[in-house]
């Protein structure tokens, strides 16, 4: 990470974190809402 980014590394990281956010957000709500009795 401390080295010069490779070409396109910003986009690759964006693609990775976009999907990570969708999955973490989805799983968190799908687990917590039923526990809260929704």
């Amino acid at each position: 990470m401390s080295t010069t980014p490779h070409p396109g590394s910003t986009g690759r990281a964006f693609a990775f974190w976009l999907w990570a956010a969708v999955i973490v957000g989805g799983l968190t709500s799908m687990i917590t809402l039923p526990i809260l009795g929704r």
Partner: protein, 225 residues
Amino acid sequence: MRTFVRDQGLTLGFFAIFVLAIAGQSVAGFLFNNEELAEHGRPEIGYLDFVTSSAFLVDVAENWQSEFLQFFLFILTTIWLVQRGSPESKRPGDEGIGTDEDQLVGEHARPDSPRWAKVGGVRGWIYANSLLIVMGVVFALSWLAQSLAGTVVMNEENAQHGMPAESWASYVVSSDFWNRTLQNWQSEFLAVGAMVAFSIYLRQRGSAESKPVGLPHAASAEESE
């Protein structure tokens, strides 16, 4: 900006159709849910109440778990099982986890290899299995979510019919839970098997999922390189 969009076209394209599909599912599910409530003479609920309800979440979760199970099993089984002629498979004889030299790990790592591919030890093992681990964790959590939301939905129905509430432990051995689970699994396994088998003989020119059109049926995509 144009380069950025082109370079992430596959993930951005799928993100867009994912958002459209889940939005469509939520609207159709909302309308269907309210029709059901009206038929039973119960008050309708608002859209936001529906999309945060277990009735919606159980339907989302049961599909998520099966998709991630599909990829988990595909990644796992293709380590040791092969299908001659399929671009989804390694070459017969290449079964197994490969040598450190083939995998560019430890002392065989390149200067530009990921850091955890160079280090070995626990971090090296985790990184070497990270795709399978993450797919497996997402599968397990989605399946857990399906069981939790399914229990709530089941107990709402039980309450309406004047029946006692069911525990999570009894829901996960219920016919409703396994009906929802297995109807998704069967279709995933069918589609993966069909993809592996059909890609031996069939082609899609230009697709990363296909062998080149003129490559013989016996060859895998790997052999074409």
